[in-house]
């Protein structure tokens, strides 16, 4: 299968996913038990407020009409108005998106070279001291909940030792980069484990593979053999795992922002959920879902280029 054909098929699938996800999001938020307006109004139902919510959400119209309206608005880039602040949601998201993007970008920038380098170093001497150390740590830290790790790091480095600021409260991330150190450490833990392990396994596979031996017999050795012959074959699963990592990052960011008091999208989402600001929750979910789909799409295309055979088995 050629790359353009694979890309076209994959793009269609991505569009289908986005369509499916918007439906799920709408149905779930619609599925609030009882009268949605009453539930949203919360513990102190005030008839006036219920009426206002009812009017704003158009609850008197049938669900499918509202769904269509919501979809058309989405396509035009209009995410609606927040129930709480009565401001357009787009403005609210634009305020916090920068912070989250910065956090995610810095994490990825550190993660990719570090994890791949660690994996390659570990593969250099299979069963060596470095290999065993890297693999023990990466196994141990695989699925440790971020919040617990974050709290422990804060307790040790922020409170006990006082080396680093315990939270980012009120700090500007760009002028005061030290506030980013602890959040970064927490966000890196999980993906660095999986990616370095995958790189190591892929490199070992490739190095034991007949085609690397073949290249060696032809006189290709050293760094060239590693980078041009062994690494490309090892990278395809790594790239796909990176896409999954971006999912985790989005999840991890929610927790990390909550713990370190960083005003990003995660905080916005938690706030919106706790205040039952349904339009904001819907908008955020769609945003995150679309990002995920796009990232996975890109990763699949890169992986296809790296390992053209996967197109054949899908």
């Amino acid at each position: 299968m050629s790359l353009p054909r694979y890309a076209a098929g994959r793009l269609l699938l991505g569009l289908g996913q986005v369509a499916g996800i918007t439906t799920i999001v709408f149905v779930l938020t619609e599925a609030l038990p009882g009268d949605a307006a009453v539930v949203i109004a919360g513990d102190h139902p005030d008839p006036a407020r219920i009426a206002a919510i009812r009017a704003q959400l158009d609850l008197d119209r049938p669900a499918w009409q509202r769904y269509l309206d919501w979809l058309t608005d989405l396509i035009r880039g209009d995410l609606g108005v927040s129930l709480i602040s009565q401001r357009p949601i787009v403005d609210r998201l634009a305020d916090s998106a920068g912070t989250t993007l910065l956090l995610a970008a810095v994490t990825l920038l550190v993660l990719v070279p570090l994890a791949i380098a660690l994996g390659m170093l570990a593969a250099r001497r299979e069963g060596g001291r470095l290999d065993r150390a890297v693999s023990a740590v990466s196994v141990a830290l695989y699925a440790v909940p971020e919040f617990a790790l974050a709290i422990l790091l804060i307790a040790v480095f922020g409170v006990r030792l006082g080396w680093l600021p315990p939270t980012a409260f009120g700090a500007d991330l760009l002028t005061q980069p030290s506030v980013l150190v602890l959040p970064l450490l927490v966000l890196l833990t999980r993906p660095i484990c999986t990616i370095s392990r995958l790189t190591r396994a892929g490199m070992l596979d490739a190095l034991h593979g007949e085609y690397v031996r073949h290249a060696r017999r032809l006189g290709i050795t050293g760094i060239r053999l590693w980078l041009r012959h062994a690494l490309p074959g090892a990278l395809a699963p790594v790239v796909q795992q990176l896409a999954r990592t971006t999912d985790w990052l989005l999840g991890g960011v929610i927790v990390v922002e909550a713990v370190f008091v960083i005003p990003g999208l995660g905080t916005a989402l938690v706030d919106a959920v706790s205040t039952r600001d349904i339009p904001t929750v819907q908008a955020l979910c769609v945003l995150v879902a679309v990002t995920t789909v796009v990232v996975n799409l890109a990763a699949d295309l890169v992986a296809f280029r790296l390992a053209p055979r996967i197109g054949a088995v899908r």
Binding site: I24, P33, F147, I151, A155, E210, R217, I254, A289, A307
Partner: protein, 796 residues
């Protein structure tokens, strides 16, 4: 090291688990509340003044219980869904089940958790449901992926052919097969569930805000981190300890112990023949290779001048590949080499392998030597550049083009931009040779270059190797393909259990083999006994059969209007290139592949197209012997049991009768009782082929279909099976349909031959006529012995 890791994990896991399980039993009534964040009690007080020590004892249970329940629930739903998706033969059911699950996989799990929790009523039950829902898609996918090859593989088809009970096919075969994969994965799923539960509790989802829960404690008490760090640090540390411990312990479960590859049997110690020449390109003297417990190759000596072809022949496991790899200075770890190898005046040992590039090696699977992710042109240019670093780009391009022409490959840009998997097997082989030529190889080693290939490819290989030798390259050919050896070899070395039992010029060895084992290897298949009883009313008749394959979304014709007939006691051979539709025809007759149009009749009686709609006695009358005997057996039950099943299921025999029938048949194919009471993995390939024959005979069939039954076996084993098959046919009056591309097999068994090309019959006739003077070009190419005179018709 690994032990230590698991032990550490177990200890780390034990502490929080013990607290979670027994903690609530140890605490008394909650004490009075005092001031928030004070130092009272062992660990101080929390944000509302409760004793932290007591809260820690109480707070573990909810995380563990919710995670366990959620994992169990996810498996309870996910495994049946995955199994159903894998088992169904209707595509839309599979799509309907799996597509929505794929969709949820595309959303980050924490986001899904928040979204679901925001709409559902809070509470632990909700949390269990949500976490289970998030874990479910992955479990369903893994189950489906593990069960899919089992549910549609040869073993399952074999069981369907004798209508094995649902219980043995489903839980007995598929269930056992996926159990290990699911168990190894369960730990990871549980960790994932725990992670979600703890994080959700921390974010205040699904639990009461003042619940006694470690995660909630971390969240609520972190405001007082400066005043009373214990209230936060202890529960956080417990959660981490739980996660790390689980990680370390489950990692143990994920390790799959790779079996050591089966090594050739030990060889007796004798010395090989002495070589006579001296000024030779390659000199091998007393080469021996020994694994720690036995000798693999012993006292092998030979020499080879440039421009000659040495064929190394021998049964599988005779040390051919070990010898060849020694010439490359390579050994399997743990094997030691002795003896001297001299290549172009330079000694070759494991420490000093031959100068890079001088020896080219073409593995049995040439694609393995090609980097799967790089375009073939890029690699060719890289090798050219490496050989002559100073030259210009255009010089390299010319060098590459010249080499590609030498091996008859295209040189255009479109070809060079392909990936190895886009090439045919023959092209891949020639590409590997091109690599060796670019690197100026003086010796080329080709490992079984024609295994599994049809006669046409074999001719190409023969031409290619002869051409290389004429250009002055020494070639070593490892093969058990005697036609190829006869066609090209200048010298022959015969290996038997690691010892050179014969060595000399090809003409001499072929004409007068001295050693008994050589004679056996070189022997033509045993002569066919006189023609069987003729009975001209056809037993099996196929009329106007057409069939299609689904290829992506489209239907591709594989069989076009095929008609043929086989009388009882006779053998019909179906020959043709790979991909010409031979196997599909066989599967249509057996009912494994539904025909689109056309009829299969048995003794004048119409058979349903699908085997599930055939009567028991009809199923029993037509049996199928699969190409891959090993894959057609259920690995979890004994051979005897599986041979007895057809008799029990299709002929209503009691278990005792079925067992006796099976034992009798197995004995008849030469398998002793103590062998067949074992599971299939303890039997050799040849034994399994015999067992497969016995199993097919257990339902007393009238038609036996054999699909490439001897492909990939060495000639001694192959002859044994052919003789057996012929004898069975005559004594049981079987109509046999043999699918093969091996001339020897066809010549030995067939009464009639049909030649297939692109799904249609292009030639047919009595075996004697077609074997000696076929008219169709393809018939001649496939069936005539001399590769040099056979000219293959072009492929389209």
């Amino acid at each position: 090291m690994r032990r230590l890791r698991t032990l550490t994990g177990a200890v780390l896991l034990a502490v929080p688990l013990a607290l979670a399980v027994f903690g609530p039993l140890l605490t008394g009534e909650p004490g009075d509340r005092t001031f928030p964040f004070s130092g009272d009690g062992v660990l101080g007080t929390d944000f509302v003044g409760r004793d932290v020590g007591q809260q820690v004892l109480l707070g573990g249970r909810s995380v563990v219980v919710v995670a366990v329940c959620a994992t169990l629930l996810a498996y309870l739903v996910g495994v049946p869904v995955g199994l159903l998706a894998a088992a169904t033969r209707r595509r839309w059911v599979d799509e309907l089940l799996m597509r929505p699950l794929d969709l949820t996989l595309a959303v980050p799990s924490l986001l899904l958790l928040i979204l679901l929790a925001a709409t559902a009523p809070p509470g632990q039950l909700t949390l269990v449901g949500i976490v289970a829902l998030i874990g479910l898609p992955e479990i369903a996918r893994i189950t489906r992926a593990a069960a899919l090859p089992l549910a549609h593989g040869p073993a399952m088809e074999a069981m369907r052919l004798y209508r094995e009970t649902w219980w043995r096919r489903g839980p007995g075969y598929v269930g056992t097969g996926i159990r290990r994969i699911l168990l190894a994965d369960a730990g990871v799923r549980f960790i994932g569930a725990m992670y979600l539960v703890a994080t959700a509790s921390f974010l205040g989802i699904g639990v009461a805000p003042d619940a006694a829960d470690w995660a909630v404690m971390v969240d609520r008490n972190r405001a007082g981190l400066f005043l009373q760090p214990w209230a936060v640090a202890v529960p956080a540390a417990l959660i981490i300890s739980l996660a790390v411990g689980l990680n370390l312990v489950t990692d143990r479960m994920l390790i799959t112990h790779s079996k050591p590859s089966p090594s050739p049997p030990p060889g007796p110690a004798t010395t090989g023949d002495r070589p006579q020449a001296n000024e030779r390109l390659l000199q091998v003297q007393d080469l021996a290779a020994a694994a720690p417990d036995r000798a693999l190759v012993h006292g092998v000596s030979f020499s080879l001048p440039a421009g000659e072809i040495l064929a190394v022949i021998g049964a599988s496991g005779s040390g051919k590949t070990t010898t060849a790899r020694a010439l490359l200075g390579e050994v399997t770890p743990g094997v030691t080499l002795t003896g001297t190898i001299t290549l172009a005046g330079q000694p070759v040992t494991t420490a000093t392998p031959p100068k890079p590039g001088t020896v080219g090696y073409v593995p049995q699977q040439p694609v393995a030597a090609l980097n799967p992710v790089r375009r073939i042109g890029a690699v060719l240019h890289e090798i050219a550049r490496h050989q002559a670093p100073g030259d210009s780009r255009s010089t390299h391009r010319r060098t590459v083009a010249a080499v590609l022409e030498r091996v008859s490959l295209p040189v255009d840009r479109r070809f060079l931009r392909r990936f190895p998997h886009q090439l045919s097997g023959g092209q891949q082989q020639r590409l590997v040779i091109a690599h060796a030529l670019l690197a100026h190889a003086v010796l080329l080693i080709a490992d079984e270059p024609t295994t599994g290939q049809d006669a046409l490819t074999r001719n190409d290989v023969a031409r290619e190797l002869t051409k290389l030798a004429r250009e002055g390259i020494a070639v070593i050919l490892l093969s058990h393909d005697l036609h190829l050896v006869r066609a090209v070899a200048d010298q022959i070395l015969v290996l038997h259990r690691g010892v050179a039992i014969e060595y000399g010029p090809a003409a001499e060895v072929l004409a007068m083999p001295r050693h008994r084992d050589t004679r056996e290897l070189l022997a033509a298949p045993p002569a066919r006994p006189a023609a069987a009883v003729r009975e001209d009313r056809p037993l099996l008749q196929v009329t106007g059969l057409s069939a299609t394959h689904r290829d992506g979304g489209r239907h591709r014709d594989v069989l076009r209007d095929v008609s043929l007939a086989v009388p009882a006691g006779q053998c019909l051979a179906v020959v043709g290139r790979s991909g010409s539709g031979k196997t599909t025809l066989a599967r249509c007759i057996a009912g494994l592949h539904p025909a689109r149009t056309g009829q299969v009749t048995l003794g004048g009686h119409h058979l349903a197209a699908h085997l599930d709609r055939r009567q028991r006695h009809e199923l029993g009358a037509i049996q199928y012997v699969f190409q891959d005997a090993r894959a057609s057996f259920n690995p979890y039950r004994s051979i005897l049991d599986q041979t007895a099943s057809p008799a029990r299921r299709l002929r209503n025999a009691t278990s005792e009768q079925a067992r006796r029938t099976a034992l009798r048949l197995l004995e008849r194919v030469g398998l002793a009782e103590h062998t067949v009471t074992q599971r299939p993995d303890r039997l050799s390939g040849g034994e399994l082929h015999r067992a497969a024959l016995a199993r097919a005979l257990a339902s007393e069939p009238r038609v036996l279909i054999c699909d490439e039954t001897t492909a990939g076996l060495d000639s001694v084993t192959q002859h044994g099976i052919l003789t057996l098959l012929d004898e069975l046919r005559r004594s049981l009056q079987l109509a046999v349909v043999v699918i093969s591309h091996d001339r020897d097999v066809v010549a030995h068994l067939a009464d009639h031959i049909v030649v297939f090309d692109h799904g249609a019959v292009v030639d047919r006739g009595p075996a004697d006529a077609l074997l000696t003077h076929g008219h169709h070009l393809l018939t001649r190419a496939l069936l005539h012995t001399d590769p040099a005179t056979a000219v293959a018709p072009s492929d389209r």
